[in-house]
């Protein structure tokens, strides 16, 4: 079943899906590598992080952990808070990754903001091996991140080209996925709840700690919606 021909077809299908992430990851990965280099932490730690931590915003925050040589428990606590949004990705993908077999552990490990946003709206055509396509998308994204880090850490401050604002590619990617999701569905309540709760929590709690309260708010409103729907179904 899983012959060479089929794998090449899967790769041909998966690669174009990862191009926006490639742009964002090469730039953000390189920026991260440069920052690590400039702060004197070197290629070794930069690569270890990009391979095994593989969480963009956490790695940027991590530079401040190293700079201040913080207590590891403090690092753990702050990292869990910042990464809490990953719990949502897992909850969203529990069914989608159910039959992923040998790919499952890696697919879960590599579920970054960007890979999640591509996979969650991905409809693989029936003639392609679905989980292999997922795996290729996830692994390509990971490779871009590592490659960007390596280039940045090696080139250091030699890069002359003004890259200010290039990281906006990821904001653009999320905006585009948001629009695609909006078009694919007539029920816009979940999208509105997401934006509204997040904006409200930024205003109420500030930009540094809004994620966890926003997640609580989103899941509460969605759960109330679920109860209401269940009540309706039971009455019928």
């Amino acid at each position: 079943m899983n012959n060479k021909h089929e794998r090449i077809k899967a790769l041909k299908y998966a690669f174009p899906k990862t191009i926006p992430v490639m742009a964002g990851y090469l730039v953000l990965g390189a920026a991260f590598g440069i920052l690590m280099r400039v702060n004197g932490f070197g290629i070794f730690w930069a690569l270890v992080w990009s391979i095994f931590v593989y969480a963009g915003s956490l790695q940027y925050l991590g530079i401040t952990f190293f700079a201040a040589v913080v207590n590891p428990w403090y690092a753990l606590f702050m990292s869990v808070m910042l990464n809490a949004r990953h719990l949502f990705y897992g909850l969203s993908m529990v069914d989608q990754l159910k039959d992923a077999g040998k790919f499952r552990p890696y697919l879960i490990f590599s579920l970054t903001d960007e890979t999640f946003s591509v996979l969650c709206s991905e409809q693989v055509p029936d003639h392609l091996p679905r989980h292999l396509v997922y795996f290729l998308i996830a692994a390509l994204d990971h490779l871009y991140w590592i490659a960007g880090t390596l280039v940045g850490a090696m080139a250091g401050t030699m890069i002359r080209f003004d890259t200010a604002g290039m990281d906006f590619a990821l904001t653009a990617l999320f905006t585009v996925i948001f629009i695609d999701q909006w078009k694919s569905r007539n029920d816009h309540r979940a999208a509105c709840i997401g934006v509204f709760s997040s904006v409200l929590c930024v205003l109420l709690f500030g930009k540094d700690v809004f994620i966890v309260p926003a997640m609580v708010m989103i899941i509460s409103v969605i759960t109330i919606g679920y109860w209401k729907k269940k009540d309706k179904e039971e009455q019928m």
């Binding site: 990953h86 904001t171 997401g194």
Partner: protein
């Protein structure tokens, strides 16, 4: 240096642990072999739509609307992305166009 290496290694371990924990936890609670509860399936169908909204806001969280340039570069670029994307429907064009516009804006007009 030796002292620093150990501290760095522990901090790195903490970061890896935090990431693995937050990514694997939902899957440990709802393993592959068992039937997923209805409620979790419902979450799987609705949460992605809310989460992408959260991510857009997350990216823009540092933008100030009360001080110059009043979030104008971001607002303009997102407006252009939206128009391009609804009009042409080509993700790469929308993302590339919007990013180049944003870079130009903050490197020239809104320096």
């Amino acid at each position: 240096m030796k002292h620093n290496f150990n501290s760095y290694a522990l901090i790195t371990l903490a970061m890896i642990l935090a990431t693995v924990l937050t990514r694997f936890l939902p899957f440990l609670f709802f393993p592959a072999g068992k039937k997923t509860p209805k409620y979790i399936t419902y979450l799987g169908n609705t949460l992605p739509y809310a989460t992408i909204g959260l991510l857009v806001v997350y990216c823009l969280r540092g933008v100030s609307f009360t001080a110059r340039p009043y979030g104008l570069p971001e607002a303009l670029s997102i407006a252009v992305i939206a128009v391009l994307h609804i009009w042409k429907g080509n993700a790469l064009l929308s993302i590339g166009g919007g990013t180049i516009l944003y870079m130009t804006l903050i490197q020239t007009l809104f320096r």
